[in-house]
Amino acid sequence: MPTIEFNLEPLTGEHGLALAVTGMLVVFLALALVVTFITVLPRIASWLSRAHPSPAPAMPVEDEQLPEELLVVIAAAVAEVVRHPHRIVHIRTPGDMSWSLEARLQHHQSHKIPHRDR
């Protein structure tokens, strides 16, 4: 019959409890230092940003046609796609092209090849 026994003697040696407690302390201490660093990181980042300021963002251009909320949404969508410094200089609404789109649609439909029975 297999039996499982516990022997506490190995725990008292150099590689026993002493190593486990020291190891746990080292893990905690290292991660506590990481926590300290992360806590001050925003301040370091803001200090570095002040020391090396990035180019001023482009001033928003007044647009009489589009509401401000829509401009914000478009700017956010462009930023998500581009992910690099950029400047939106022109927003073309679909309405600008409605006549040409309609004409193009008709033109393509006129090229449809009719189905023939063999």
């Binding site: 297999p2 190995p10 407690v21 020291t22 746990m24 290292a30 506590a32 660093f37 570095l48 940003s49």
Partner: protein, 391 residues
Amino acid sequence: MSVFESITTKIAQFWETTAFAGLEPGNVIMIAIAGCFIYLAIAKHYEPLLLVPIGFGIIVGNIPSSAGVSLSVYDEGSVLRYLYFGVEQGIYPPLIFLGIGAMTDFSTMLSNPKLVLLGAAAQVGVFLTYLGALAVSFSFGETTLSFSPQQAGAIGIIGGADGPTAIFLSSKLAPDLLGAIAIAAYSYMALVPVIQPPIMRMLTTRQERLIRMKPSREVSKLERILFPIVAFLICTTMAPGAIVLIGMLFFGNLMKECAVTDRLALTARSAMIDIVTMLLGFCVGASTNAQRFLQPQSILIFVLGALSFAVATAGGVLFAKLMNLFFKEKINPLVGAAGVSAVPDSARVVQMVGQQEDPGNFLLMHAMAPNVAGVIGSAIAAGVLWSQLAL
């Protein structure tokens, strides 16, 4: 000799060269275990990227070869032996860490630094299991089985819930136990959704599980670039043994965050990590030959591994409760369970258990903070054990 006798002799000779002649019940058991792994991966979606390569590797490793033919990972000169070199020498785990670094977003951790401590608390599973493995002995008949400090250290790291770290440390401290430790580590990682929830529920009240946490703040690009460099210096100054794993993790993360090495980061987190995962999983599976794997010590390793996961989960949850005694802004203690570094499975389990109480409570992003901190914590723990026990 008649033609008939020649043919029967030849058939008998051929039979000896087939796998049937050397197939033992242990091989059949291992092939059945591999079938379970593949079933769990395909039907239940338990860590399929790991269990499919490991499962198929187990099948490959348990097909007996005829004498004189070099086929298995243990045969000098075989192809599998060369592939296994990366496991044996601890080459694959740091490469996996490079890929993990290139796909990890530390923003949630940077936005709520105190959650990092939960990743440290969960490492109690590593060190308590180390002590347990050191103290336990298994007797059957006249044979008594016990573990050396090096073997105990390699077993303890299963509690870190990090497969590559477990493989790395066992390749350095206890290469003879590598197969059992790796299979135990990956099996329990796959079973995180089964092991953790009962412990999480047992140690928390309903009121605690309902705690909603403040949304994370936005982290600037400069912070995300500075973090891997300085955190690497802090961690490896404290535990130089973790240089390889932590170094690759933060190197991968720097490539991702600096935005000027997109191509490198993309390769690290896609093609490279996929190739290494395939090789690692397959080779670990192929190393579990029944004659080496089906030993009483493997059963003991599996029992200790399960305990280490449970202790690590409990450690994280209880430490979160302890922190709530001191902090005004309360932490949902479920988040502590994500301190075991099974990324992102344990964070997903936290989200699942939290939503069972309150469907409107989204804990996933909060849980990712201790989860990635757990990766760092387990790598530091491995570094400490390696540097102390390899002496």
